[in-house]
C-alpha cells in the first residue's frame, strides 16, 4: 500500500485523520513534510520556499502567543512579527476558540470551528499555525484540508501535527528565528516572494484603523 500523503485539499467533507492513514509524528530533531519524516534542517528550507512561493502567505498566531502569559510568549510574538515582515505574510489572529456569535469577520480573524471561512475569504494558499493549542489546531487543520486547497504548516511547541501538510515540533523562540533566517537567506540567494501586495490591517479598541 502506498504511503498516504497529507496534501492540500479539498479532500472531502470529512477527510480521514492523517494518523488513521498511517502518518506518524516526527521524533525530536525531525519534522514531517506531507507525512514523510525528514530532518528538521530540510524542513526549514522547504517551509521557507513554500511561503515565499505563495500568493497569500498567512500566519495564524493563536492564544499562546497573542496573550502575554509570560515573557517567553511576548518574545515569541515579537519573533512571529519579524517572520511575517521578512516574507512578507499577513497576520490573522486566532484570539480564542469560542464559536463566535453572531459571526466572525473573516478578513480579520480566524476561528478553529470554521477556519475555512477565513481561508476562502482571503484566498490564502499557504498558512502557518503557531501558538494554537494542539486539540484546536488538529480540529482546524482537518477542516482546512477537508474544504480548502490551502497548504498548512504547523509550528507546534509539542509533538507536531499529522494533519498539517508539514509540521515542525518543539518550536521555540530560536526555531522561529531560524525560519526567519532561512527566509532571508533564500531571498538573498534570489528567491523572490510571490506574495500579492497587501497592507497588514491594524485594530484599535474602536475597530479597524483605516489607512
Amino acid at each position: 500500500m502506498e504511503q498516504y500523503q497529507v496534501l492540500p485539499g479539498p479532500e472531502a467533507f470529512l477527510p480521514p485523520s492523517a494518523a488513521s492513514m498511517g502518518i506518524t509524528l516526527p521524533d525530536p530533531g525531525e519534522a514531517h513534510i506531507e507525512g514523510r519524516i525528514v530532518d528538521e534542517e530540510e524542513a526549514y528550507e522547504y517551509a521557507a520556499r513554500k511561503l515565499l512561493g505563495a500568493k497569500v502567505p498567512t500566519i495564524f498566531p493563536g492564544p499562546l502567543v497573542l496573550w502575554k502569559w509570560n515573557e517567553k510568549a511576548a518574545k515569541k510574538a515579537k519573533a512571529i512579527r519579524e517572520l511575517a515582515e521578512a516574507m512578507p505574510a499577513r497576520l490573522i489572529p486566532m484570539a480564542d476558540y469560542r464559536p463566535k456569535y453572531p459571526k466572525i469577520i473573516a478578513e480579520l480573524e480566524i476561528n478553529p470551528n470554521h477556519p475555512n471561512l477565513t481561508i476562502w475569504h482571503n484566498k490564502i494558499d499557504v498558512c502557518i499555525f503557531i501558538g494554537v493549542h494542539c486539540h484546536q489546531a488538529n480540529l482546524a487543520l482537518k477542516i482546512i484540508r477537508g474544504g480548502t486547497d490551502c497548504y498548512t504548516i504547523a509550528m507546534c511547541a509539542q509533538a507536531g501535527h499529522e494533519d498539517a501538510c508539514m509540521s515542525f515540533r518543539d518550536i521555540s523562540l530560536e526555531k522561529i528565528h531560524k525560519l526567519t533566517a532561512t527566509v532571508n537567506k533564500l531571498k538573498k540567494e534570489g528567491v523572490k516572494s510571490q506574495a500579492e501586495p497587501f497592507t497588514q490591517f491594524k485594530m484599535s479598541r474602536q475597530g479597524r484603523i483605516e489607512g
Binding site: 510568549a73 489572529p93 456569535y101 480579520l108 485594530m203
Partner: protein
C-alpha cells in the same frame, strides 16, 4: 492572578479584534469590589449572548458575571440547557459537563485546584438550570453537599425544561400547564432551598433577579462562604418568557409579581450563626475598602 495576567503580547496587540483590546483596557479583573454598577462603564465579561430577546436568564448572567469577586480565579461549571448557550461568549474559564453531572465535575475540579494552588482562592461556581440541578442531577447536587465540597451551586430556576420545549420539572409549581406537560403538574414545587440547608449548605438564598443589588450581595456571600465553610446554594428565578406565554418586555414584571409578599419567590436566606457573623465582618471590610477608595479619589 490579577489583571496583570490579562495582557496582550505587545508585538501582536494591534491585530487583535476590538473586543479583546477593550477587555484588557477596561474589564474589572483584579478588583475585588467589582459590581453590577460597572456595567456600561467597563467591558463586561459577557459578549453578545445567544438567548431570546428579553430573557431574564441573560440579565441574571450579566449580574452574576459582574458580581463574582475574582473572575480571573474563577471557573464556572455548566450543564446542558439555555445556560450552556451563553458560556462560549463569556470571558471566564468554564467547563461544560454532561447533563446533571455538574456538581460531581465541580467537586473534582475544586479539589484539584486546591492541591495545585494551595495559597490562592480558586472559586468554582456551578451554574445550571433546574432540570440539571433538581431533577436529573439531584443525586450529584446533594452528594456534593453531603460531602461538604467547597463551592457554590447556582440554579437558574425557570420552572421547566425550557430549551427542549417546556417539559415539567421538579421546580415547576403545582398545577402549572406547559406545552409538553398538558395535564398540569400534580405535586408541589420541590423545596430545594430548605433541602439544601438541611443537606449541609452553609448559606442558601432563593430570589428573583429583579433587583441587581440583591443578586450581587447573594452571589458574593455565597462565594465567600464557600471558600471558608463549605457548600452554598443560590436559586434564582429566571422565568422562561417563551414557555409561560409572556412577551420580551414582561420578564421583569413576572419576576416582580412572583416575589411579592405571599408569592413563591419572596426572597429567603438560610445561614448558620457562624456564617452570619462571618458575613457581617466581610461586609464591614468591603464597606471600609469602598470608603477608602472613595476617599482616595476625592483626595
Amino acid at each position: 492572578m490579577s489583571k496583570e495576567k490579562i495582557q496582550l503580547s505587545e508585538d501582536l496587540a494591534d491585530i487583535m479584534p476590538p473586543e479583546y483590546q477593550e477587555m484588557v483596557a477596561t474589564a474589572t479583573f483584579g478588583n475585588e469590589d467589582r459590581s453590577w454598577k460597572d456595567i456600561g462603564t467597563s467591558k463586561e465579561l459577557i459578549e453578545q449572548h445567544s438567548l431570546c430577546a428579553g430573557c431574564p436568564e441573560s440579565i441574571a448572567f450579566r449580574f452574576i458575571l459582574a458580581s463574582i469577586p475574582a473572575p480571573e480565579d474563577s471557573v464556572f461549571v455548566g450543564s446542558t440547557g439555555c445556560t450552556s448557550l451563553v458560556f462560549p461568549h463569556v470571558g471566564v474559564q468554564n467547563i461544560h459537563s454532561l447533563f446533571g453531572n455538574q456538581n460531581a465535575i465541580a467537586s473534582g475540579l475544586q479539589r484539584a485546584l486546591k492541591l495545585r494552588f494551595p495559597d490562592v482562592y480558586k472559586d468554582v461556581i456551578v451554574l445550571a438550570g433546574d432540570g440539571a440541578t433538581v431533577d436529573i442531577g439531584l443525586d450529584m447536587t446533594m452528594q456534593s453537599w453531603f460531602r461538604q465540597e467547597k463551592f457554590t451551586t447556582i440554579c437558574f430556576d425557570n420552572e421547566l425544561y425550557a430549551n427542549t420545549g417546556g417539559q415539567e420539572s421538579g421546580l415547576m409549581q403545582k398545577g402549572f400547564v406547559s406545552k409538553m406537560a398538558p395535564v398540569g403538574k400534580k405535586f408541589e414545587k420541590v423545596r430545594l432551598p430548605e433541602i439544601a440547608f438541611e443537606s449541609g449548605c452553609h448559606y442558601v438564598a432563593c430570589l428573583t433577579v429583579s433587583k441587581p443589588n440583591r443578586v450581587e450581595q447573594v452571589i458574593r456571600n455565597a462565594i465567600y462562604v464557600s471558600r471558608e465553610f463549605g457548600p452554598t446554594y443560590v436559586q434564582l428565578y429566571t422565568p422562561c418568557i417563551l414557555e409561560i406565554g409572556k412577551q420580551s418586555m414582561e420578564g421583569l414584571d413576572e419576576m416582580k409579581e412572583s416575589e411579592a409578599i405571599g408569592q413563591r419567590f419572596v426572597m429567603k436566606e438560610f445561614m448558620t450563626d457562624e456564617v452570619k457573623e462571618f458575613l457581617k465582618e466581610k461586609n464591614a471590610e468591603q464597606k471600609a475598602r469602598k470608603k477608602a477608595a472613595k476617599a482616595a479619589v476625592t483626595a
